[in-house]
Symmetry: C2
Subunit: 237 residues, 2 copies
DNA sequence: TCAAAAGTGTTCGATATACACCCATGC
DNA sequence: GCATGGGTGTATATCGAACACTTTTGA
């Protein structure tokens, strides 16, 4: 009976979305699975500790990676295919990074978002972090490509459930066209500009600032900011 | 390093909803954790095997419990608090049911639904299965009460995402008032009868039958059925 | 004829969609 | 003055919410 049941390590993997150049990006980390392979990028993640909840592990890993203490994050799925960690190159990396003979590993996937202009402080064991456009994502190890696909679907549901989180993808001050492009990127469909302006006007928690763009060779756009306090009041009603 | 990372068993737990007497019910199993405790009810679940995906484990456990081959099911959350399996009574039961010294156990929770009038064939190691009204759920072991709470929230999202699954809670032929009561139970709010009839008429996949109630001491209600084929056509457009 | 549940329509407000032109700015 | 992106309003369709009475049946 003792060998019949799975007895396994558990990891968390985080899909951190950012927004830049009218595109959704995700945060990848560089590791050295095999020097011959060109990029060695993967989703940030790691094994959870004894006496650690998975939610806490995800927070910890994101903190180590970005320096951000309490990131907004959202668990969305456990990936546990028996084959997911059996590619030889992946097993080799696991042996080196953790310990030998890990032939199976289940992971709990998290979704998070982060402003791309935020300065990140990487204190993790990964060499470097980098933003990568969702549209030209490389082939990732394990089932990380599948995890990203699932995350793309999940982020819509998350934003539908709590519209405020979309503003975590933008800088503190933003112009309407950025917000517009972001909505288009998240929902992957084009949105009429006039209707979009109307929609934004109806969000009283998106407040216009006095500041406008400078030195642009077209009409300067007004900056807006997201007002958390107004938002919270609203949603309680 | 070897003892730093969690190395654990993994279980699945299933919250199976049924609908009866205008109420949501869930399927519980009886086990014998401790003869002194009165009921010994818990959520159906069990450890996953080596070489088994969690989704497959959930299917297997539900099959053993109900005899149903491919149940409609939906993973919704991993519960992994370090304390969740540390109540002495729970640990005692784990030792007996599986093996000694399980002090930590993470679980992946699934949601499923089942017609309560369906004859269930329990070939699992649990003594018996029984439907229990959600409104008078006993105190359950582990964090099963928390899991049920999370499932109540999740079932709304699931139905919003795929309206067809609500019909899995009803018998093949049903009357509008049953469907009405079901919606009220799931969304936990009262719904105007007239508006509800209108809504049902707009669902062309809910088709009226010739058959009506007999021997009721009030106007006989018409039976309806859910037409899967029409539903699938619709949603593709 | 009474009790009990079935069944039926209209109005209103809010929300989403479709659609095209002028404005400000730097070069 | 022109290229570039910023910003604006109206009309229509759709959807959800509110609201009360008549019908059928068995006892």
């Amino acid at each position: 009976m003792g060998t019949k049941f799975i007895h396994t390590y558990v990891s968390v993997d985080c899909v951190v979305f950012g927004f830049d150049n009218d595109q959704l990006n995700i945060l990848l980390v560089q590791f050295d699975r095999d020097q011959k392979e060109d990029k060695n990028l993967k989703l940030p993640g790691g094994l959870i500790y004894n006496d650690e909840d998975v939610d806490d592990a995800a927070q910890r890993i994101l903190f180590e990676l970005t320096g951000i203490k309490r990131m907004n994050l959202h668990q969305f799925r456990c990936f546990a295919s028996p084959d997911r960690a059996r590619h030889p190159a992946d097993m080799k990396w696991l042996s080196k990074a953790y310990q030998p003979n890990i032939d199976r590993l289940i992971t709990v996937a998290y979704l998070s978002i982060c402003k791309v202009d935020r300065k990140l402080q990487n204190i993790s064991r990964f060499k470097s972090t980098q933003w990568c456009r969702l549209s030209d994502l490389p082939v990732l190890p394990f089932d990380h490509n599948r995890i990203v696909e699932a995350a793309r679907i999940e982020i819509k549901r998350w934003i539908d459930h709590d519209p405020a989180i979309i503003f975590d993808l933008l800088p503190g001050k933003f112009i309407i066209s950025q917000l517009h492009a972001l909505y288009e990127a998240v929902y992957n469909q084009s949105i009429d500009v006039r209707n979009f302006h109307k929609k934004v006007k109806s969000m009283e928690y998106v407040v216009p600032l006095e500041e406008k763009q400078v030195n642009v060779n077209h009409r300067a756009a007004r900056y807006y900011k997201f007002d958390k306090v107004i938002y919270k009041k609203r949603t309680r009603i």
